[in-house]
């Protein structure tokens, strides 16, 4: 079983809320759910939609095969294009030749609720259409909004009973298992980091990372995470440096434009050997670009971020579960190796809501190597791995610096010291690679003789298409250091890269590191891939 529907209207119609409640409704029935949200960079008006896919097996992408459309606005009904089996619209606002009119606005008026509550009517209708349990929906509203839920509950019931009299029932959903949690990639990354000991989150608002800020501003109080929104992104990154120096596990979040502002600080972290985890949530760029739309255009930018050479960790999760694990793994790794790290997310992953099956105990707090005391502390003591044991003030006199320095942290410029300290830092690259060899840097989603290589949120859709076509699908989770050892298998194969960009950043990495030439299946119009599109495009390549 696998179906997909759309709720559409404009900003201010509560589309995201409706999509999230819909996702949770089916998740409470025990199904797997994936909800993609499309919206413009404005607060009222325009076009806004939630596309919700429900399945009895795992889903990591929405689908272009939608069967139901609920249109809260006329322009949203018009944009549909006739693919839906059932179209439901608010007949108190406009009329349509085909489709089922439900007087949603009237219902809201009757209930004395503002227009935005129409979305509850829509949910009642959908509950009927899919034969879901209206009681589950009502409980969901009450769990979510407490005493403020009654208008929603009432309107959901009105929608449900109106629909039951007039609308077809497409399916008869039953409870398919235990309720599953529904998270966005943003929430998953936040929680994974907290599981690995996160105590500080600093961010300046920027789509599509802002939700982490909002989520932790609320949940952080309970989870022991101090959340600060400084004056700008430079302050964010530098403040994080100060916190890491004093021993605080800190993460910062932004998008490409904000990360661009953090470049000088990023390089400082490399020189000072301070562990800060950055969430870089990509959106359609360059510059302000299409700020609420999707892209994977910043991979090379992140891999080479900051002037000068220094080791770094870069990882990119495919979905919310992966975001949970990688955020946790990365926070531990940046502390272990005292390097900056980037968790490279993207709009589709960040904001889509999905059922997850996380095993929180898989992530825990790993302590870095601490100084054991003794003589004078040398912050940059030279070791075979390049990693120096850590201490924090006031336990020791700890001298860190953005200048080149000697082992004790005093400024140095003589050739011998400069060369030695440079070597020490760069040696950590090998140490990190050694550690990664024991981990899963590349995920094989499915097997086959020809291979698709992909990264980030393109992976689930690509994997679905590959499964259908009998292709291998490999998702590169760790991108720096680049896990050549897990990718040697590609040599001599026919390979295609699937990524939401124009230039083929991952493709260029396969060339650089493996001399493997791949076809690029790219997209750069701000929209994520769907499995259906990829089946089509992969067929062209591998035909």
């Amino acid at each position: 079983m696998d179906f997909c529907f759309r709720i559409a209207g404009m900003a201010g119609d509560g589309i995201r809320g409706a999509g999230t409640i819909a996702a949770r409704l089916f998740a409470r029935h025990g199904y797997h759910v994936f909800a993609n949200f499309e919206y413009q960079s404005l607060i009222r008006g325009g076009y806004s939609a939630a596309v919700v896919r429900v399945s009895d097996s795992r889903v990591g992408a929405h689908s272009s095969r939608e069967e139901v459309l609920v249109a809260l606005r006329e322009h949203a009904a018009r944009e549909a294009g006739g693919m839906h089996r059932v179209v439901v619209y608010d007949s108190s606002l406009f009329s349509m030749k085909e489709g089922y009119g439900v007087p949603m606005k009237e219902f809201a008026d009757t209930a004395g609720a503002p227009e935005i509550f129409r979305n509850a009517v829509a949910l009642g209708v959908l509950t009927w259409i899919y034969g879901a349990d209206i009681e589950v929906l009502k409980r969901l509203y009450r769990d979510a909004y407490g005493r403020k839920a009654e208008a929603d509950v009432k309107l959901a019931e009105m929608g449900y009973s109106h629909a039951s009299a007039m609308l077809p029932r497409l399916r008869e959903l039953r409870h398919a298992g235990r309720a599953k949690p529904v998270l966005t990639g943003n929430m998953a990354a936040a929680l994974g980091a907290v599981k690995a000991g996160l105590r500080y989150y600093y961010a300046y608002p920027m789509t599509p990372s802002t939700q982490i800020l909002h989520f932790l501003a609320r949940a952080g109080k309970k989870l022991g995470v101090t959340v600060v929104q400084p004056e700008n992104e430079i302050a964010v990154a530098v403040m994080a440096a100060g916190t890491a120096y004093a021993g605080g596990r800190v993460m910062v979040g932004t998008s490409g434009g904000g990360f661009a502002l953090m470049q000088e600080a990023f390089s400082m972290l490399g020189m000072a050997e301070l562990p800060v985890l950055f969430v870089e949530a990509q959106r359609s760029a360059p510059s302000t670009g299409v700020p609420t739309y999707h892209a994977q255009q910043d991979l090379r930018f992140v891999l080479h971020a900051g002037h000068g050479e220094f080791p770094r960790l870069v990882a990119s999760p495919a979905d919310a579960e992966d975001a949970f694990s990688l955020a946790g793994e990365m926070l531990n790794l940046v502390w272990r190796f005292q390097v900056p790290g980037v968790l490279l997310m993207d709009r589709y992953l960040c904001e889509s809501a999905v059922t997850v099956d996380v095993e929180p105990s898989a992530v825990d707090v790993r302590e870095p190597e601490l100084w054991k005391g003794g003589d004078e502390y040398r912050r940059y003591a030279i070791t075979p791995s390049g990693v120096s044991p850590l201490a924090f003030p006031p336990e020791a006199v700890v001298k860190v610096t953005a200048n080149e320095h000697d082992e004790a942290g005093f400024t140095a410029d003589d050739a011998a010291t400069v060369g030695r300290m440079y070597d020490k830092r760069m040696r950590k690259e090998a140490a990190i690679a050694g550690e990664l060899r024991g981990m899963s840097c590349v995920r094989r989603w499915c097997s086959g003789s020809d291979a698709v290589v992909t990264w980030g949120s393109a992976a689930p859709a690509a994997a679905e298409a590959c499964e259908e076509l009998g292709l291998a699908c490999l998702q590169v989770r760790y991108l720096a250091p680049f896990p050549v050892w897990e990718l040697e298998q590609l040599k001599g194969k026919r390979v295609a890269c699937v990524e939401c960009n124009y230039s083929g950043a991952l493709r260029s990495l396969l060339r650089e590191h493996l001399c493997v030439d791949a076809e690029l299946i790219g997209r750069w119009d701000g929209r994520p891939f769907t499995p259906e599109e990829l089946v089509h495009r992969l067929e062209e390549v591998f035909r």
Binding site: V182, G224, A235, V236, A246, P360, P394
Partner: protein, 263 residues
């Protein structure tokens, strides 16, 4: 704890920075056991080298970014005493945004600006506080800009402790540093610092610098701030400190519980 490290000082002979260093070492001596909790943060410029010379924990950061480092340290460990040393180019040009917001937020940290009215380490260009007409290497025909009044600006931004010292008056400067550190909130000290290489103001300052009494109100302090040679504590007020307001308490929930609530 050695308050002076064995690093060779590479400031020019006669540089005002020596006075600031001396005042800070005296301050640390006066702090006794608490000196071990001091974390020195310095910017980039001649002033920034102070990190090498003082035997306390230190973070020699990038140009203009002293205030966020101070805040980040304080948030991580409230028992620490972060004290920043920045240049005028550092604090009033490159990083002025941070200074203003730190003043407004009122984190309990101290910020000392080595104000020599010149970018010294890059060999003498005009900064925000260089006098109009100043001939530097990027203004060979004279600086066309009006100098900034940093005290006025910090007062307008809401700083809760605003002072000015003079590198030539180590006793007073030590006293100012001690007061700044003991003040709970964002403490700002602008230090008039002659740069013998690019802006030698020793004579001028020795003649003109004088001390004023702390004003009773911000408005009055702003009037005092119109005098570029006045030194002393201009203003001081007690206000909520930032870290008290934002720091998260110990956790009361687990990630597992939050995940449960999202089912």
């Amino acid at each position: 704890m050695m308050l002076r490290t064995s690093q060779k000082i590479v400031w020019c002979p006669g540089c005002g920075n020596y006075g600031i260093l001396r005042a800070f070492v005296k301050t640390l001596e006066a702090l006794e056991d608490n000196a071990g909790r001091v974390v020195l943060v310095s910017g980039v410029g001649c002033h920034g080298k102070i990190a090498d010379y003082v035997g306390v924990s230190s973070f020699h950061t990038i140009h203009g970014r002293v205030p966020p480092v101070l805040t980040g340290i304080k948030l991580a460990d409230m028992s620490l005493i972060p004290v920043g040393f920045a240049g005028d180019g550092d604090a009033y040009n490159e990083g002025i945004a941070h200074l203003i917001h730190a003043a407004r937020k009122n984190t309990d940290v101290t910020m000392v600006v080595h104000n020599n009215s010149v970018y010294a380490l890059t060999t003498g260009q005009a900064t925000a506080t260089s006098p109009k007409g100043f001939r530097g290497r990027s203004t060979p025909e004279g600086n066309p800009e009006e100098p900034l009044n940093p005290l006025l600006l910090l007062l307008a931004a809401g700083a809760s402790f605003v002072a000015r010292g003079f590198a030539g008056n180590v006793a007073q400067l030590t006293e100012l540093m001690l007061q700044a550190i003991s003040h709970r909130g964002f403490s700002f000290i602008d230090v008039l610092q002659p740069c013998v290489a690019f802006n030698n103001t020793w004579e001028l300052l020795r003649k003109r610098v004088h001390e004023v009494k702390t004003a009773g109100s911000r408005e009055k302090a702003m009037e005092l701030a119109m005098d570029p040679f006045a030194t002393g504590v201009f203003y001081r007020e007690s206000r909520q400190v930032y870290e008290d307001a934002v720091t998260a308490p110990e956790p009361t929930s687990t990630v597992e519980q939050v995940l449960e609530s999202l089912r």
